[in-house]
C-alpha cells in the first residue's frame, strides 16, 4: 500500500499549498496564495479546480496543477478546452518516492473520466520534463529562445569567461554579479512617457483587452493550433500576480499592433531578463516599430523572445534588431510537452481539429501561453 494519498484541491488546502510553493513560486506565502487564486480559482475556463495533492500522514507534501485554456485550430476554427499541467512541487524529503507518478496517474484518471483531449506542459524545467517523458509525454519541439543582451551584460559575460580561463583573474571575477541586476521598467516608463516616436507607438501599464482581441480577430488565423486570444483571456492572463507587464501599442483610432513585455517579480525566478510575452501587428513595419521601442526605451540588460514557431518575417525583425539566431539545445529543452487522454489517446494519432499535435509546424506557440510569458 502506498504511503501517499492523492486528493483534489479544496479551499482549506490553500495555506499549506502557499507554504509548499515557497520552493517554486516565491518565498512569500502571501504572493503564492495570490498566484493560486488567480491561476486556478479565477481561471475563466474551468469551474473545477484540478489541483492534485499528495499527502503523507495527512500532511500535503506535493502538488501538480492543471489550469484550463481555450485553444483553437483549423479553418474554420474549432475550439477545444486544453489543460496545462504546471506548478509541480514535491517536498524535498518526498522526492524519488514515486509521488510524481502517483499524482499524474490520479490526474489523468480524473481527466479521462471527464472526456478526451490533450494536456500540455509549457513551462517545465529539466526534472519535470524527464518525469513527464518517463510517463509517455512527447515533445512538440523546442521553444528556441533568443536573447538580446545589452553591452553591459555582454561585457560582464566576457569578463566572467576571461576570469574562468585566467587563474590570476579568478578572484576578481568572483566579485561580479552572477546575473544582471533585477530588471525594472523604470527607464521604459520614463522614456515612454515622453512619446518619443511621435505617438506612433505608445506605452501603457494596463492591457486593452478588448482592442487587443479585436486586432487578433481582424488579423485572422492561419489555422495553426493556438490559444484563443479574446478579451476574456487577455483580461485574465495579464492579472498574473507573479509578473509585471507593460504594453506597447501602435495605432490611433484603432489598435494596429501591440507588444507585451513581462518581468517576473518572484525571487525564485530569473528577474534579470524581460520577456516578449506576445507581439502582433497589422504589418511588418508596425511590428518593427514596436520592437524598436521596446529595445530603445527599455534599455534592458536582457530581452528574451521565443522563435520556434514564429513567422519568418518576425524572426527577421528580431535578427535585424540584433537578436542572435536561436540555437537548438542538444538536450532538447526548453520544450513543449503534450499527452492525450480519453479517446484522443486511444486513437493512436494525437490530433486536434485533425492536425497532428506532434508536428511543430502545426503550432503557433507564444510565450504568453506559458507561465514564462
Amino acid at each position: 500500500m502506498s504511503a501517499y494519498e492523492v486528493l483534489k484541491y479544496r479551499p482549506e488546502h490553500k495555506a499549506r499549498i502557499a507554504e509548499l510553493q515557497c520552493d517554486l513560486w516565491s518565498s512569500d506565502p502571501a504572493l503564492n496564495a495570490a498566484i493560486l487564486e488567480w491561476r486556478y480559482e479565477r481561471n475563466p475556463y474551468l469551474d473545477d479546480i484540478p489541483i492534485y495533492l499528495a499527502t503523507s500522514h495527512g500532511r500535503i507534501v506535493a502538488m501538480r496543477g492543471f489550469y484550463g485554456g481555450r485553444w483553437e485550430a483549423g479553418i474554420p476554427r474549432q475550439e477545444n478546452l486544453v489543460y496545462c499541467a504546471d506548478d509541480l512541487v514535491i517536498a524535498p524529503e518526498h522526492r524519488n518516492r514515486g509521488v510524481f507518478t502517483l499524482i499524474m496517474k490520479a490526474a489523468f484518471d480524473d481527466l479521462q473520466a471527464s472526456g478526451d483531449g490533450i494536456v500540455l506542459t509549457l513551462s517545465g524545467g529539466m526534472t519535470t520534463v524527464l518525469g513527464s517523458l518517463a510517463m509517455g509525454w512527447k515533445s512538440i519541439g523546442q521553444t528556441l529562445p533568443t536573447r538580446l543582451l545589452s553591452n553591459r551584460t555582454r561585457l560582464l559575460q566576457l569578463i566572467r569567461s576571461y576570469g574562468a580561463e585566467v587563474p590570476v583573474a579568478r578572484q576578481a571575477v568572483r566579485w561580479l554579479p552572477d546575473r544582471g541586476r533585477p530588471e525594472r521598467f523604470t527607464r521604459l516608463d520614463s522614456v515612454g512617457a515622453t512619446r518619443p516616436s511621435g505617438g506612433r507607438v505608445w506605452l501603457a501599464r494596463e492591457p486593452q483587452a478588448q482592442a487587443m482581441a479585436e486586432l487578433i480577430e481582424r488579423l485572422g488565423t492561419d489555422g495553426r493550433i493556438r490559444h484563443v486570444r479574446d478579451a476574456k483571456y487577455f483580461a485574465w492572463r495579464f492579472a498574473n500576480p507573479m509578473n509585471e507587464y507593460r504594453f506597447l501599442y501602435a495605432g490611433a483610432d484603432r489598435l494596429t499592433g501591440y507588444l507585451v513585455l513581462r518581468r517576473c517579480i518572484s525571487d525564485r525566478f530569473d528577474t534579470s531578463a524581460v520577456y516578449v510575452s506576445d507581439w502582433e501587428g497589422e504589418n511588418v513595419a508596425i511590428k518593427r516599430d514596436l520592437l524598436r521601442a521596446a529595445i530603445d526605451w527599455g534599455g534592458f540588460s536582457e530581452l528574451m523572445a521565443w522563435t520556434a514557431t514564429a513567422a519568418r518575417e518576425t524572426v527577421q525583425i528580431l535578427l535585424e534588431a540584433g537578436f542572435p539566431e536561436a540555437v537548438r539545445s542538444p538536450r532538447g529543452i526548453p520544450c513543449i510537452l503534450v499527452k492525450p487522454y480519453g479517446t484522443t489517446a486511444s486513437a493512436g494519432t494525437w490530433t486536434m481539429a485533425g492536425k497532428s499535435v506532434l508536428d511543430p509546424s502545426n503550432w503557433d506557440l507564444r510565450m504568453l501561453y506559458s507561465m514564462q510569458g
Binding site: 524519488n96 518517463a134 542538444p330 520544450c335
Partner: protein
C-alpha cells in the same frame, strides 16, 4: 579524465558503477536494487533520479543527450536497458 574512463569502462564495470551510484540517489526501492529492478514502470524513479541518470549516461556516451528523443519508459526501465542504450549509442557513435 573521468569522462574518458567512463566511456572506456566495460559493461560490467558500468553496471556496478551505476548500481552503486543509484544507491546514493535515495530511491525508495523495495528490496535490493538489481540490474533488472523496474525503475520507471514502478514509478519510483522519478524526475530527480532521472536527471542524475541522464547526466551519468551523458558521461558514458561522451556527448549531450536529448531525452525527448528517447522512449524512457521502454528503453530505460532497468539498469540493463540503460546499459543496452549506452552500448547502442556508443556503437553508433562516429
Amino acid at each position: 579524465m573521468r569522462r574518458n574512463e567512463g566511456v572506456l569502462a566495460s559493461r560490467q564495470a558500468r553496471r556496478e558503477e551505476l548500481l552503486a551510484l543509484m544507491k546514493t540517489w535515495d530511491v525508495a526501492v523495495d528490496g535490493a536494487l538489481t540490474a533488472d529492478t523496474p525503475l520507471i514502470e514502478s514509478g519510483l524513479f522519478d524526475s530527480l533520479a532521472l536527471f542524475n541518470l541522464v547526466v551519468w549516461v551523458e558521461g558514458q556516451v561522451g556527448a549531450p543527450l536529448d531525452p525527448t528523443t528517447v522512449d524512457l519508459a521502454a528503453e530505460w526501465n532497468t539498469v540493463t536497458g540503460v546499459l543496452d542504450f549506452i552500448d547502442r549509442r556508443r556503437g553508433s557513435a562516429p
